[in-house]
Structures are given as C-alpha cells and as structure tokens.
C-alpha cells in the first residue's frame, strides 16, 4: 500500500479482476433469495404444473398470499436491518381491523373516517412500541412480545364488551373496494400495494441518508450514535412504519372480506420474520435488503399455495412448509458463501 502519485484507479492491480456486473450482482444480499424463488417455482411447476400451479388462478392465488405477507415483510425487513424485532405486528393487524369495524358498524362513522382513525391509532401504538424499546433499552423481542399479548387482549376484550361478539361482518365497503381490493382479471390490488411499498423501501434504504442510518443503527448502534446518527429517531420511525403496514393489511383484508375479526393476523409476525430471513437479512441486524423480503414473501406464498394445489394431505402440510423453508434458506446461504469466496 505504498503512497503513489498516480491517480487512483489508473494503476493496474494484478490482484483485481474487472468488477463486472455479474460480480456486483453476486455481492447483493438478495441473490440467494432470488435463487430460492427460481428453485421453488421450478419444483412446483414440475409437480403441480398440470394441477393448476401454472394457470391464472393458481398464480393469482400465490401472488395474493405473497402480496399480503409482503406488505408486512418489507417494513419488517427495514426494522430488522436496524437491529430490532416487531412481534406485535400481527396483533396490530387485528386491532386496526377491529377498530375500523367498530367505528363503522357500531358508531356509524363514515368508512373513510374510520380508516383514517385506525391509521392514526396504529401510528400511535407503533410510536409507543418504539419509545419503550428505545427508552428502556430492553430487547425489542421482549417488548413487542408483551405488546403482542396486550394489543390482542385489548382487541378481544373491548370488542366483546361493546358488541358481545368477536367478529363484525356485512360492512359496506363499496366506496373503497377498488382501491384496496380491486381486481384485474384474477390478480388482486394488494399486489400493487406490495410492489409499491417494496420500491419505496428499497429507495429509502439504498438511496437516502435515512437508509444509511438504518444500516448504522443495526450494525453498531452506540458507535453510530457517537458520530451523529439519530438512532433513537430512526428506530421509533421504523416501529411506526411496521405498525402502519399492519394497519394497511388490516384495511385490505377488511375490504376484501367485508368483515373484521379479533383473531385476524395471528402468527403473521413470525411468517413475516421468516420471509425476511429467507430474503437474506441477518437476524443480528446491520445487513439485508427489502428486495430480499419481497423474494422471501414470494417463496412463502408459492410454497403455501403450491402445497395445497399439489394435493398434499393437510396432515403433512406443516412438515412440507418447514422443509421447503429450510431448503430456501440453505440455497440462500450456499449462494452467499460462494459469493463471499469469489470476492476474496
């Protein structure tokens, strides 16, 4: 590493090959997940192609599952890159949906007003989640696990207290149907929402200051704080974003099914984390990608619906789901190691 007076880049370095496009692609965290998508699709195309996997309704059905999970997974990936977990997002889905239903059906608010109120409500509880994590310095895993129960419990208790029931149906959603649950052919509007959120998240992560701060907060929070990154604000903002995503999903489901129920969204937080990890984001934070979460959600959707289309007995469903997920993560891991070795 001698000091030279030749301008950088002009000296030929015998250790370096030209950094082509392929090399730069290999370095990306979502490469493994992309490989996983291809492999899973090929597997199901082979064993269930004639059973409907390749047809319109099959494709639309797994895209729908992927898009709904993806709406949650993309913001969750940003939060996990920043080093935190949000286990309460499933309960937020349930709570937001129920809030809209109660305001509309029980108190006769116009639907738009109820939706806006639920959005404000979800942003508030996201803010609270973030505030508690940041101020108490407790692991977010624990804090949001607690809010998972609190929010779900409040949803159930308040709904039963007010209505005596646990689901409210028959909501008139005609005014917003196209926006949230419209269809082109068999393909649902939630796919557009999902892709839009993914594009926005990727842009924020890779092309703005805030994105750099997200990486910094996850990679080395104390050190980042010391050089001027507003780590607390970043984390609270991200908790508000995941809560908002939960609310958006609740709205979409409410409009799709014209109803809300207190148990909606159960276990979605774990599915979202699985999709994010499949997509190449580390559980330890500081590294990952939103595009990876898109691929992860896609794999999840293909596996979940593909298994049913294949005709596998329900008893084996969970075994295969787990097996396919491990397969996807292994492929991911293998490709990442190959890429790292090639780089060295």
């Amino acid at each position: 590493m001698a000091v030279t007076d030749v301008a950088p880049g002009m000296r030929a370095d015998e250790r370096m090959r030209r950094a082509g496009l392929l090399r730069r692609l290999l370095n990306r965290p979502e490469l493994g997940a992309a490989g996983g998508v291809v492999i899973v699709w090929v597997i199901f195309a082979v064993i269930a192609g004639d059973r409907g996997f390749l047809g319109t309704s099959g494709t639309a059905s797994y895209l729908e599952v992927a898009s709904e999970l993806g709406i949650l997974a993309v913001p969750v990936s940003l939060l996990m890159i920043a080093g935190e977990f949000d286990l309460s997002i499933g309960s937020i889905v349930g709570a937001s949906g129920m809030a809209i239903a109660l305001l509309d059906v029980q108190y006769h608010w116009p639907l738009w007003a109820a939706i806006l109120a639920a959005v404000a409500f979800s942003l508030l509880i996201g803010f609270l989640n973030g505030l508690v994590v940041v101020k108490t310095r407790l692991p977010s895993f624990i804090v949001t696990l607690a809010s998972l129960f609190i929010f779900r419990g409040v949803t159930i208790a308040v709904t039963r207290r007010i209505t005596g029931r646990t689901e409210l149906g028959g909501i008139d959603i005609s005014s917003v149907r196209v926006l949230f649950a419209g269809h082109v052919d068999a393909y649902s509007a939630s796919i557009l929402w999902w892709l839009g959120i993914a594009v926005l998240a990727t842009w924020v992560l890779l092309r703005t200051r805030v994105g750099n701060w997200i990486f910094g907060s996850g990679g080395a929070a104390e050190a980042a704080r010391n050089i001027g990154v507003p780590v607390n604000r970043v984390k609270i903002g991200l908790f508000m974003t995941t809560a908002f995503a939960g609310c958006l999903l609740a709205i979409i489901d409410l409009v799709k099914f014209a109803s809300a129920d207190v148990l909606r969204g159960t276990q979605l937080e774990f599915q979202a984390i699985i999709a994010v990890v499949i997509g190449g984001t580390l559980l330890t934070g500081g590294y990952g990608s939103a595009v990876g979460a898109v691929f992860g959600a896609l794999i999840f959707g293909m596996v979940q619906q593909g298994i049913v289309i294949t005709g596998v007995d329900a008893d084996w469903f969970q075994v295969f789901l787990g097996g396919m997920l491990i397969l996807a993560v292994l492929v991911n891991s293998y490709i990442r190691r190959k890429a790292a070795e090639a780089r060295r």
Binding site: I43, I47, A48, R51, G52, F53, G55, S57, G58, A60, S61, Y62, E64, V65, E68, R160, R165, T166, E167, G169, G170, D253, K256, F257, A258, S259, D261, V262, L263, R264, T266, Q267, Q304, Q305, V308, I309, T310, G311, V312, D313, A314, D315, W316, F317, Q318, V319, F320, G323, M324, I326, L327, L330, V331, S333, Y334, R337
Partner: protein, 332 residues
Amino acid sequence: MPARKRLFWPAMIIALVMVVAAGCGSSKKSTSSSSGAKKTGIRIAVVTHGQASDPFWSVVKNGVDQAAKDTGATVTYQAPGTFDMVAMSRLIDAAVASKPDGLVVSIPDANALGPSIKKAVAAGIPVVSINSGSDVFQSLGVLTHVGQTEFEAGLGGGERMGAAGVRNALCVNQEVGNAALDLRCKGFTQSIQKAGGKVKVLSVNLANPTDTKQRITNAIRADSSIDGVFTLGPTGASPALSALQAANLLSKIKLATFDLSPDVLQAISDGKMLFAIDQQQYLQGYLPIVFLSLYKQFGLMPGGGNAILTGPAFVTKDNAAQVIDLSKKGIR
C-alpha cells in the same frame, strides 16, 4: 477435507429435495391405494375449518376417506392450522385453482369465505357445504348443505336439560367467533329461559384444556346456584367433566354436551353426564363425496335446495354402549 466440505451443501440440498419429493409422491399414493371401488378419476377437494387433529373432525375425515374408497373418487382434505378465516379462504382459492370436479366446504364465517366460495361457483365447480353455514349456503350458490342446524339443536339440548330440572346453566363456548357455536348457545338459552331459568356464556380457549378446566372451576365457585353445564364440543366437555369431578359436584350439577368423544361416551355410560348431542359428523364427511360423485356422473343432487340434516341425535345411557363401540372405530 476441503473436497468433503464443498460437497456438504449440495448434498444437503439434494437430500431435502428427495425428502420433499418422496413425501409428495407418498401422499398421492395414500389416497389412491384403495381396496374399494375402481378409481373413477373424479377429484374432489374438501376444505374445512377443523384440523384433522381435532377429535370431532377426524371422524369427518374418516367419513371422507371411506366415501373416497367406496366411490373410487380421489379426495384431498385441507384445513388451516388455527381458526383463521383468511387462511381458510386461501386454501379454498388454491383448491379451486387445481380445478377439482367438486368442492366440499364448511362455512363458519360467511362474510369472510363468501368471496372465495362465489369464485368457486363462478368457475363452474359444484359446491356442497357441511357442518356450518346452514343459514347462508343458498345465497352463495352452494348446491346443498349437509349438517345439523345449530339453533334447533341447541334448542333440543336446552329442552332436555330443562326437563331434567336445570334452571341456572353455564354455556361453555370453545371457539369464540364461530357463528354456528354462537347459535347453539342461543338455542340452548332460549329453551332454558322458556323453562324459567337463566344462562351465562363462558368462553374458553379450545387449544388449552388446563386453562379451560380452571375457568369452569372458577365460574362454578363464583356462582353456587349453577345447576347445569352445557358444553359445545369435546374440547369443552372433557375439561368440564374434569372440573366437576375435582370439585365433587357431579351429583349436583348436570352436565351435557354437543358432539361425542371417548371421554364423553364413557361419562354418559357411567351416569356422570346426562346426554350428548350427536350430529353424526361421519355423514357430513361421507355423504357429500357420494353426492358430488353422482352429480359429476349423472347430474343428480338431493336436498331440493335445502339442507340435509344429519342431527341432532341424542346419546344417552341407554344407547351409550353401542356408540362407544363405533366411536372406537372412528365412526361416531
């Protein structure tokens, strides 16, 4: 060493793919290795809200499997892991995408499942509903419903309990949000009230029997004038039995339930339980397969647009022994 390490990951991946493929293959074989009628090539998809691990629904599945053997049809059975309507609608969508010759569904929540069922009907797939949804199936384009109407069954149960002298009852609901179960309690309540009594609904978590037993115990202790406990399924009945036994109140409090299980049948036989309402769910699994096979072949469909009732049938001390025998075989 390096060579072996490099082979590790590819080997793992290949092994997993083989396991998955083998599993897929074997599951397909399990539905086709029948010693019954010749395969007709008719494919029927069954999607219910009850997991095959639930003792009630495993009887339904046995009915489905036996009907598949007897008619030569190929049947798949799917259910969501928890009581999750969104997941169930996805299963219906996936089943519809595989273009079956017939679809059998339960409809615990018409609002949530309506769109998916309508999609199936629009795709030209004949649909038969079972178990829940007796009040909505017609509006969704479903051809017929095979099950028990909940309100009337609850009514019948309440009448019997009222006749036995019950005036202050607990109605234990283990699957809050299931419209059918709500109707059962409502029917029950109406009968008891008609007899001059009152009813309180206690909700419990079907997945946690210990907690259920605790809640029932607490409820009984809180109100000592309770003289009847009515549960809506075996997942509520077993803990209730256990709770009453532990509190030594079986002589004072009359216990009855919907649906059967080995514990329930034994308790009736021993005189600890007054009766159980059998909706004969084996028929709910068996009949739709037969109906859809015949529909596919000849266009025949019974019911006349109305529901075909499989219950209520009452199991009491008198016929308990025979039912116990059949229950061991997974038929009742």
